[in-house]
């Protein structure tokens, strides 16, 4: 739930970022506008979202959603950002330059869900390099798996 200050700033940002959509519990943004949004949120002294706490992705069968959870240490604000990307072309710009802590988390989301983060070198992190498929995709099946 964005506080008043955050909601006000997000509304202002919406003018330059056409894909921005502020919901009750999260902010929806298009992949192309994501780095600009995060940069503004981090550098705005009244928001100071300086900490990327969580980054993950979910397979919703017809699309993938990448989720970013930001925290502002200074004001205690929390913000959830969601980004829908197509399943057959799952590309989204990497945010490693803004939040270096995204490195391992992006690699994990690539490894398990198959999200391709562009603008950085991507390697699997938990599974071995020769692994076939992305296990957290809903259509992934494996021998011995439960339904």
């Amino acid at each position: 739930m964005p506080s008043e200050k955050v909601a006000e700033r997000l509304a202002a940002l919406g003018e330059s970022l056409p894909s921005l959509n502020v919901l009750e519990d999260a902010v929806i943004v298009g992949g192309d506008d994501l780095p600009a949004l995060l940069r503004s949120l981090k550098e705005d002294p009244d928001l100071a979202f300086n900490f990327l706490t969580n980054l993950t992705a979910t397979d919703y069968a017809d699309h993938l959603t990448v989720v970013y959870n930001l925290v502002s240490f200074l004001y205690g604000y929390q913000l959830t950002i969601r980004c829908d990307i197509p399943r057959d072309d799952p590309r989204i710009p990497s945010v490693m330059e803004i939040y270096p802590g995204a490195d391992l988390q992006e690699r994990e989301a690539y490894d398990l869900v198959g999200v391709v983060f562009t603008g950085r070198e991507l390697k699997r992190v938990l599974l071995h390099d020769g692994f076939d498929g992305y296990p957290l995709r809903k259509d992934f099946t494996w021998a011995g798996g439960r339904d």
Binding site: N50, F51, L52, T53, N54, T56, T58, D59, V67, N69, F73, G76, T80, Y99, P100, G101, A102, D103, L104, Q105, E108, L112, R124, V125, L126, L127, H128, P135, L136, F140, G145, R146, D147
Partner: protein
């Protein structure tokens, strides 16, 4: 630090060195589990280090999708197996948030008692094995001697020594048994003396200090940029402890302090864990004194079916911010579970920290980050 850099510069001028790759692990005691570091060295100095993990990956996030919400609880114990109660707590709280379940006050207090005991147990392993990493094996045995008493307590509560699975959606599995209370009071009374003993044995040791002070310095800005959390973040002087910053459960009712480091070096990270144990004991003492009467399990439907939606809940784990991201489609099984594991994310800064140091310092720096591979690999 500066004199050491000067010395290094002089060395580089006078001695011709080669670059080579040195492999550490995955099976090596200093890596605290199955973890590998591919280090590139120039002479004796590390220029690059690539962490390789995944050797203990069990696919818990995938397994959770085929289990009911209650069946997932035992899997959480097996992530950070040194602080199982905290993993339980983060998970059940996330499910409760998703469902809007009320937890009885007594259950909240029992959770806090068990969670803080678990935190102490985890920190005891951290400082003990760190002492062993640096070369003082005795410290390891002393801390494990006292950790045993905590495991005894948690065994009384849950029946298990490591994989507790004690917490339930809506409360805890069972009330604390009568024999728990005198034993817990005894621990609260006796453990500070044991901590003094470690301070004499480990913290005050000259060799230990020489090996850890001003080694692997992590400044506050870098710590935040790299999403570092827990004692590693606070060791760099950043005051961010979720128990204080965003109090959950009943933490706002207890009087305790959040210790901070100054230099962000290995010694500060170690020292912080020592002080945090004393603060955790204070919380346990207050929670034992203020434990209200009542039931240990709230009213929860037999079949746990959270409404469709998603939730992200984080608590202060022993290693840092432990977050659970759950997506429900309204069925009795989670559609998606993701765990923000502090050990995994804290590892991100390792390559940066070890650059310019030597192999022995890699052991000191890695140990100071206090990772547990069950959690890194999930």
């Amino acid at each position: 630090m500066n004199t050491e850099l000067d010395m290094r510069d002089r060395l580089e001028e006078n001695i011709k060195t080669d670059r080579y790759v040195l492999n550490m692990g995955p099976q090596h005691p200093s890596t605290h589990g199955v973890f590998r570091v591919i280090a590139t060295l120039d002479g004796e100095v590390i220029v690059d280090a690539q962490p390789v993990c995944g050797y203990l990956h069990r696919g818990i996030e995938k397994l959770a999708e085929a289990r009911t919400y209650t069946q997932v609880i035992p899997y959480t114990d097996r992530m950070d197996y040194l602080a199982g109660m905290l993993n339980n707590m983060g998970y059940v709280m996330a499910v409760e948030k998703l469902m809007g379940v009320e937890v009885p006050e007594r259950a909240e207090y029992i959770r806090v008692i068990c969670a803080e005991l678990s935190r102490i147990a985890s920190h005891l392993v951290a400082v003990g094995s760190y002492s062993a990493d640096i070369g003082g094996l005795t410290g390891f045995f002393y801390t494990f001697r006292d950790r045993e008493k905590i495991l005894d307590l948690l065994e009384m509560a849950s029946g298990s020594r490591l994989t507790f699975s004690y917490m339930r959606v809506g409360g805890v599995a069972d009330d604390l048994p009568p024999e728990f209370f005198p034993a817990a009071q005894k621990l609260v009374k006796e453990l500070p003396a044991a901590l003094d003993e470690y301070d004499g044995l480990i913290t005050g040791n000259e060799i230990f200090q020489a090996r850890t002070k001003f080694v692997g310095i992590l400044d506050a800005k870098k710590a935040i940029d790299y999403s570092i959390s827990g004692p590693n973040l606070r060791g760099s002087g950043v005051n961010w402890d979720l128990r204080k910053a965003r109090p959950y459960s009943v933490y706002d009712r207890f009087d305790f302090e959040v210790p901070l480091g100054q230099n962000g070096d290995c010694f500060d990270r170690f020292r912080l864990r020592m002080i945090e144990m004393r603060q955790s004991l204070r919380i346990v003492e207050q929670a034992l004194a203020g434990l209200p009467e009542g039931t240990h399990l709230g009213k929860v439907p037999k079949v746990i079916k959270p409404p469709a939606g998603e939730v992200y809940h984080e608590i202060e784990g022993a290693k840092g911010i432990l977050g659970y991201y759950l997506v429900s489609d309204g069925s009795p099984k989670p559609y998606r579970m993701h765990v923000r594991r502090p050990s995994f994310i804290n590892l991100g800064v390792l390559a940066d920290l070890v650059q310019g140091w030597k192999i022995a310092d890699v052991v000191a720096i890695l140990g100071s980050l206090d990772i547990v591979l069950g959690e890194v690999d999930c």
